[in-house]
Point group: C2
Amino acid sequence: MRILITGAAGFLGSHLCDRLLGEGHEVVGMDNFVTGRRENLVHLVKNKNFSFHRHDVTETITIPGKLDAVLHFASPASPNPASPFGYPNLPVETLAAGSLGTFNTLNLARVKDARYLFASTSEVYGDPLEHPQKETYWGHVDPVGLRSMYDEAKRFSEALIMAYYRSKKTDTRIVRIFNTFGPRMRADDGRVVPSFIQQALRDEPLTIFGDGHQTRSFCFVDDLVDGIYRLLLSDEHLPVNIGNPMEISILDFAEMINQFTGNTAGVDFLPDKRYDNDPQRRCPDISRARSLLGWEPKVDLSEGLKRTIEFYKAG
Amino acid sequence: MRILITGAAGFLGSHLCDRLLGEGHEVVGMDNFVTGRRENLVHLVKNKNFSFHRHDVTETITIPGKLDAVLHFASPASPNPASPFGYPNLPVETLAAGSLGTFNTLNLARVKDARYLFASTSEVYGDPLEHPQKETYWGHVDPVGLRSMYDEAKRFSEALIMAYYRSKKTDTRIVRIFNTFGPRMRADDGRVVPSFIQQALRDEPLTIFGDGHQTRSFCFVDDLVDGIYRLLLSDEHLPVNIGNPMEISILDFAEMINQFTGNTAGVDFLPDKRYDNDPQRRCPDISRARSLLGWEPKVDLSEGLKRTIEFYKAG
């Protein structure tokens, strides 16, 4: 297949490029480098099956030649208001990527008669009142809240994609991505995994906001990409959760990182500076991924963490 | 003020034109006539303070001269899947009006340094789990459901407007409009008020789906327009509900219409053909409108109904 990936220079986008190239596909990458980074793609520059277009998906997209699939992964993705790359600091850009960008990529898929896959998110569930989250849960999102630029853009995109699927027969797929970690996460966008690892590698105490009992479920990026690839090859049009249902407290997680890095500085507890509506708990129900795609996570947290730590050590 | 109204040829848009012209403002109307109708504006053609641009708000908008306010009312608005004018039959158009149209109107307001007001809806609350609905309720909407094209477009627009307000200091307002009725509702878009009145005027039994105990709260259009005008003149940037909190069952409502029209054919009960996620009950909490705008509905249901019946008799 010849496959376009928007957001190709991002954390997930770049790993998707690697996997699809590894499967023998031709990949056309696209990014505007607002949050993506050149170094995530530099190892692909000499790959004859890889080409790259610097382009903003909120502008009409023209790609010469055939395309068999369009994967729309372009969006700021960090909720951290303290980072310049967090979507709270890129509100209009985030809303544009998840509306104009979704229109443009859907229209491209129609013109090329290509299948379409959209990177949605567990954020469509907002601050959920049901645990774990099934795909049939409608979510709990404040449309005018301080992180609505991301959540509502993704919800809008899902509605738009279903409209194209239902009324124009576009061959669409929607993956709802839960917390993911691995090499190439921006060290400077304030998400917990790179932040902890960087602190540990500097022999500093890991900063925990609150008492550390809030839980997260983390999926290693290779597992996530495998689920996305299976969805791309499937005929499933309704949203599918992909994520790791194993919950771990932030405190246990910090202690694992200290153990694997040999950091003896421990942890520091700071007052909870919970971002607006930052969920205290989120965990995927992956029954649909299991039954429809035969998918479940394979890499355990220790193994994934060790591989991620190696990446940051080498950087 | 010189005020642009998109969706000016629609039910609400045309009444807004009348009110604003009556207040001495200059009005620029805009519509693409997908669901709006020329006859709603024909009485304004000779008004020297009224001008009209036939234009689709999903395309960039250029208006010569100054503008003091931009009111974005353009969108299909009937949930009826049996009508060609219902948004279930215009899904992509509805999502485009509530995203591209919102971007374009917001950008116009910025260029003109104009205040901005957006016609949002009680549909942002979806099929609500709280009654009555306060503006702080986050809603209950299925992002991939069969009416998500409308609900998610309006939620997206609210998020976008708050992003412009917060990050670009655009002078925005959001009104959440509950069920409204009055002259000029399309007789053919399947909404209950014109459908009942048309049946009554033909001496036919009024068709009730289900047992008639589902409730609605109906606001007469003059009251609604008054609330919108007060919001436009206010400095309130968070959403404000405008609607009539008096609930009435569909059965009682049908009986009122039969009484006022002298229709003796009664009612017909048909099996509930509830549209996907059609709420059984929705009712505004108007505390914010009362305290911030000094607004509450003045026209009682009997009076509003009589005036609406006169309109359809004359047509």
